[in-house]
Amino acid sequence: MTQTQIETPSKPATDLKEIASDIVSRAVARGATAAECVVREGDEFSTVVRLGQVETLKESGSKSIGVRVFFGKRAASTYSSDFSRSGLDRMLKSALELAKITSEDPFSGLPEASQSGSLTSNLDLFYEDVYSLSGESRIDYARRAEKTALDFDPRIQNSDGGSFDAATGHKVLANSHGFVGEYRRSYCSVAAVPIAQDESGAMQRDYWFSVARSLSKLEPAELVGKIAAERTLRRLGARKVKTAQVPIVFDPLVATSILEHIFEGVNGDAVYRGASFLAGKLGQKVAGDNLTVIDDGTMPGGFGTSPFDGEGIPTRRTVVIEKGVLKSYLLNTYTARKLGLQSTANASRGLAGTPGIGPGNYFVEPGPRSPKEIIAGISEGLYVTEFLGHGANLVTGDYSRGASGLWISGGELAYPVEEITVAGNLKQMFFNISEIGSDLEFRGAVACPMIRIDGLTVGGA
């Protein structure tokens, strides 16, 4: 194979902003009291190289459109992938008709016109260079990541492959307040998933990856392959441990899941229903003094950055928890009205349905000590590198998950462990975070340094 680029047939000259605005005005012309239209367009490339051979190669693009209409306090939404005149007509007509069967909800509606807007500074989100590599070079990126892992140690003879992905997305939002906004984002990533086998024949798999908005910021394939190999090898020979209560250290990649539980807890939707363990606790201590949690949709180059949220409100920085005190929930327009508060510009909108709530760049502020120092302070404990399953109950705070990782003994990582569970209650867990590492690093929109939590139960043999 020598190339993967083919001349694209010419697209009809259509401006997505015009299409979105047109749908909004047509909805209003046909009696809607308010309307909002979203258009999403994207391209993706992905390749997987396994044992040195190209396994899959995928390249495509797609476009879709969604509309939400209001008749007073009634709302409905429809979407389509058909941009033909008749396709768009049908979508709009369905939405107008569907709104007849929904209920009047006093809290429904678009944001106030005065809230609409878009950040104007350069947010550093789009780089055309993610597609600048030739097809062969993209495959080579994936190949080098996998090869480094396969060459790293004789115990690594198999693999789920190395991969290289690139994508760009273009989003347009228009509403009947006259707001029309758009932004483009790019993305590329490289990953390796080696499989190691020990003398007994038991296999372990792990992975590592790098992700960036620009190819120039992507980490070298060889570094990704090497870390993936190290992470896989350290799992070989894993054993079970006895049931015990010991300090537990969460690797940054799994610590983000703890942070996500806080997100679910401050999600306005769960809060107004009283379905969150953090509901009604604004201004109260919900965690130890060492915990500060921020949501910031404005960070240049961030994976959770955008100039406006899913309802066309400029994104912002919100302190969620400051030194253990709950400062703010994360809200969209609907949940803000329900709670008598202001939206925090966290609306997330798919093509259909009512807007949900999503994070911007959502993270825990780093602490003073390095990962090595944190582990050195533990005589017997568990270092969790992977969770299996999703056993967190946000209503009660009950928490129970499958885990694997490394046992800590005498301040050092001693041996791998698996087939164990970690259980506790979220309400107490955040007070029991005894260490937060200095190693904050963004590999996605949600990021957390290493953390240590005490008082959890490790379930084993």
Binding site: Q3, V54, A76, S80, S94, D160, Q204, T243, R273, A423
Partner: protein
């Protein structure tokens, strides 16, 4: 609606067009090429705080072109079904191969049609009032079930997926696949205490299904019952113990513990803990497990898979011996095995791969009451949330949402949700009793693999697992269950 030739009628496609699209797909060599046309309409309704807060409908259509060359797969798709776009996708996918052009077979052969599920007219507008009524009834029934039920969300969602698969070997398959479900979620509250419950069901059914036996009230009462029960749940024990699984949805154990590990792609690549175990004992002799895509109206059933191959009833484990894998076209060919009709994909944007349909264990001889009576100390788990598996080391988890302590053969206090963790290749060797009460789940399962979600079914009779790790929090002195 006449479902035959949906794409011919809607997009003016002809057989000649289809042959014309396959030719560029094989223009750079490649052994096989196929096109997957999909036209999906969907509706969803949500009642929340007793109001219809959300109603949405949508249409998604597109075509995916796949070219296979040895172990290589090239893939491209378009959401614009114009000839120029489909030809472009075909030429892009073709680049995976490098060799002289091949000619597709001329003349398509349609596989014998089957009809496992009803196909009703997508007269969405005529039925929408009835759908709203269903969801409102669910809301009302959940609230009426108990004064402690304070928060109810009920939803209805359906879709009709029309597909056409054509292959360069003459494969020609069309299908119209309905899918519908009702879900009820509620929260029970007392002073200082709250708990959640959820229930739902459906399948490849028409709307009348929900006006028959499986009414909205059926699901609403079940969701309310679970929430109320959880108000008084005690802490779950921690450690290894005897576990009895109730019939139905706990079959998710099979899905996670062995189902994924038996998908042929993982075994072809030797990345599964089950690789190389065909013909060997992987379960107790009481266990016979199948994956059956041919059950009428079930959520995981399909007339044909997403490669146009008829689904079948595949025996995975017979009396404890591993008998077969679940394969798609690619793995079947590379492994020299039969294609079991398990090639599935989430949509036209995705490459098909081996996936489960309805996976379940056949009934045994034991009386479920005898099974419970045989347990001295353990837990009885009857409802689960999701699960997950690492197919390489075989470790799997699934999380109980409704479970009880068993003490001296009697089911006693309800316990809080706990994760159960085990090792796929040996958990079923510890199944010592199998009940005579096989049930399938109500029809809400969705399975994720490599970022692709597909609807599936699971089922199991009451079984006893002699030893499984339970991830609770109870201290030794309060629970007495830590070993």
């Amino acid at each position: 609606m006449k479902t035959d030739k949906f794409f011919f009628e809607h997009y003016g496609l002809t057989e000649r067009d289809l042959e014309r699209y396959l030719a560029p797909a094989l223009s750079a060599g490649g052994e096989y090429a196929d096109l997957y046309f999909e036209y999906l309409t969907s509706t969803s309704l949500m009642v929340d705080e007793s109001m219809v807060k959300s109603a949405s409908q949508g249409i998604s259509a597109g075509c995916g072109v796949r070219v296979v060359s040895g172990e290589r797969t090239g893939y491209a798709y378009t959401d614009d079904l114009s000839p120029a776009r489909i030809l472009h996708a075909a030429r892009t996918a073709a680049l995976i191969a490098s060799g002289p052009a091949k000619e597709p077979v001329v003349g398509f052969q349609e596989k014998a049609a089957r009809s496992l599920y009803p196909v009703t007219l997508p007269s969405v507008d005529a039925e929408i009032t009835a759908k709203v009524e269903l969801v409102m009834r669910a809301d009302k029934a959940a609230r009426a079930a108990d004064p402690r039920i304070k928060e109810v969300r009920a939803s209805y969602a359906d879709e009709l997926r029309n597909i056409l698969v054509i292959g360069s070997d003459g494969t020609f398959a069309e299908d119209s696949q309905p899918l519908a479900r009702i879900n009820v979620f509620c929260i029970a509250k007392t002073d200082g205490n709250s708990a959640r419950g959820s229930a739902g069901g459906g399948g490849r059914v028409a709307l009348d299904f929900f006006f028959g036996e499986k009414t909205p009230e059926h699901f609403a009462k079940e969701a309310a019952r679970q929430a109320i029960l959880q108000l008084d749940a005690r802490e779950a024990p921690a450690g290894e113990m005897e576990v009895v699984l109730g019939p139905g949805w706990p079959g998710v154990l099979l899905h996670e513990a062995i189902g994924h590990g038996l998908e042929a792609d993982f075994n072809r690549k030797k990345t599964s803990a089950f690789a190389g175990l065909l013909g060997q004992r992987v379960a107790s002799e009481k266990c016979t497990i199948v994956d059956n895509g041919t059950m009428p109206w079930r959520r995981g059933s399909l007339n044909v898979d997403d490669e146009g191959h008829p689904t079948q009833n595949t025996t995975l484990i017979e009396k404890g011996i591993l008998k077969g894998y679940l394969s798609d076209r690619l793995s079947a060919k590379l492994m020299g095995m039969a294609d079991t009709g398990n090639g599935r994909r989430e949509s036209y944007e995705h490459i098909p791969m081996p996936r489960m349909t309805n996976t379940y264990m056949l009934s045994g001889d034991d009386d479920p009451q005898d099974i419970l009576r045989s347990v001295k100390r353990g837990i009885y788990a009857v409802n689960f949330g999701g699960g997950q598996v690492d197919i390489t080391n075989g470790k799997f988890v699934f999380t109980a949402s409704e479970a009880y302590l068993i003490e001296d053969g009697a089911v006693t206090a309800p316990i809080k949700g706990a994760t159960l963790i085990g090792n796929g290749p040996d958990v079923l060797t510890r199944v010592s009793m199998v009940g005579n009460d096989l049930q399938l789940d109500e029809g809400v399962g969705t399975c994720g693999k490599d970022g692709q979600a597909v609807p599936v079914g699971v089922g199991i009779p009451t079984i006893k697992v002699d030893r499984l790790t339970v991830g609770g929090t109870a201290k030794r002195d309060t629970g007495g269950f830590m070993q």
